[in-house]
Symmetry: C2
Subunit: 302 residues, 2 copies
């Protein structure tokens, strides 16, 4: 199924205890697209500035990403600067420059409007709604959000939540959105707002999925070397949505498998800065790590 | 196989956002024994004061716990007072009174000395060593410890670690013991100190097992109501060691299953204050929750 993503394409400057990069390729839509490209064809909606180098576009095209909906505006590309301590689970944002993103009005090319699967990455919920309205008859819609919108644009967020099948947020955001510390109760509250499925990302602790009937839990893959967690959540979402689009099914069995593939992709992504590890993964590496996930979690009870 | 535990029997005063108890039955050896009693016969070594009520002994006996090695000393029983916030993952200790535990010299009755499986709960590593020396020919030895001993009695701790098959500690303790933030690397360091198996407890995030060849990860059971996390780690250990003693096997297959049973028992324990939830569990409740754990974590990859 055709997969559409709207989100940011950005330059990230990141410092971790293991090194640093300046103005590396980043942005939610970028990580998402690179990750999902291993499973299906992705159409990207975003905006870049006049400073955006051709090499990054060449890379995305090499991954089969459709850039027809990538707008080019006068000015500078969105920039984010952050650093991580040894805990690596929370970034400290040092600087955010919206630049061309500030006046971004997503407009979908005609060819995008028949997309069957849509992922609304973490942007202003009004923009998410606007994008969704331009898609003719989406079969499956997922979205992400963040504390900033939960706090500052709650009514817009609640409006988009009524339209989505799957909400994909982290544990802190789930607690904040539901106003409830217990995750099981928070999930129940959130499912009553519209989404049929809630996936809660827990960073180094893995992910949880709630569908109102059952819960699925998967750990993160234990890694010896984690260089840079930037983009892990979007890479996870790319694996989840890419796999579902490929599988053409959204039942519990495929959702569980999708979460494992999302975890696999995220585990690769954190092994290098920017999305360097997503540049030339082989299908065999992805399969091998998904089998390693099975080995990691398998047990039998009598 | 016969299972021996040495640890504390105590009175806990605990406050959580959901209520509080004063001088409730607690202590590492108590939680451990009550939990393990659902799988095998347990012999307990500990000390209580002259203030210890008969009803608690009656309860432990009703669980088939052998109290021949429970010393009674003049004075007050060990007391701990703590409170938890909404996060529930870390206790704030308000008061610790060692009382009769201060001069505790574990002495094993003759009938205990042939124990095949030994669990050294979190006490002074010199006492752990002393107990182990009194056991004739243990087949499988596990121990727990804490930051206090890692920092203050490191050489004694390293001495006991050379003697144990399984070390069972939390993630913070593992990082501190290894002097290494990354858990995979920390585990490798710790396994080089003696233990063949390392189980890392991560509270609400579950547990990890390392054996030098593979890693096993299990989430904690998602619960709607968590009243009191006190004793969860010891209850987990009781389930792990109780199941292994019953299974008479310590291979990877049984260790994984043991960790699931440990998680099952811990998930029950946090549903009520003290060890109230461990008083009258049925085998059917334990089986049902272990099947729920399978359902929680099961997926298939192609």
């Amino acid at each position: 199924m055709s997969l559409l993503v709207v989100g940011s394409v950005a330059f990230d400057s990141v410092k971790t205890p293991f090194g640093e990069v300046e103005n590396a390729l980043g942005g939610s839509a970028t990580f998402f697209s690179a990750s999902a490209s291993y499973f299906t064809k992705v159409s990207l909606v975003a905006v870049i500035g006049s400073d955006f180098p051709e090499e990054h576009l060449t890379f995305l095209k090499s991954k089969g990403v459709n850039l027809e909906g990538l707008q080019r505006a006068e000015g500078k590309t969105f920039r984010w600067k952050g650093e991580y301590g040894y805990a690596l689970n929370e970034a400290r944002t040092l600087d955010t420059q919206l630049n061309v993103f500030q006046s971004f009005k997503p407009e979908l090319p005609e060819s995008y409007r028949s997309a069957e699967v849509v992922f609304l990455a973490n942007i202003d919920p009004d923009l998410q709604y606007n994008v969704l309205e331009q898609v003719r008859r989406p079969k499956w819609v997922a979205c992400d959000t963040m504390n900033y919108w939960i706090e500052g644009k709650r009514s817009s967020l609640l409006k988009i939540l009524k339209k989505v099948d799957l909400l994909l947020i982290n544990d802190g955001e789930a607690r904040q959105l539901a106003g409830e510390a217990n995750l099981v109760n928070a999930a129940r509250n959130i499912l009553s707002l519209g989404p049929k499925i809630l996936i809660i990302k827990r960073g180094e602790y893995g992910a949880l999925m709630f569908n109102g009937k059952s819960i699925f839990a998967v750990p993160a893959f234990p890694l010896e070397k984690i260089f840079d967690p930037t983009g892990a959540g979007d890479t996870f979402a790319g694996g989840v949505m890419g796999y579902l689009s490929k599988a053409k099914s959204f039942d519990d069995h495929h959702l569980r498998r999708a979460i494992v593939y999302g975890s696999v992709m995220a585990s690769f992504n954190v092994e290098a800065f920017s999305l360097d590890r997503l540049r030339d993964l082989s299908q065999e590496e992805i399969s091998a790590r998904s089998r390693a996930f099975k080995e990691l979690t398998h047990f039998e009870v009598s």
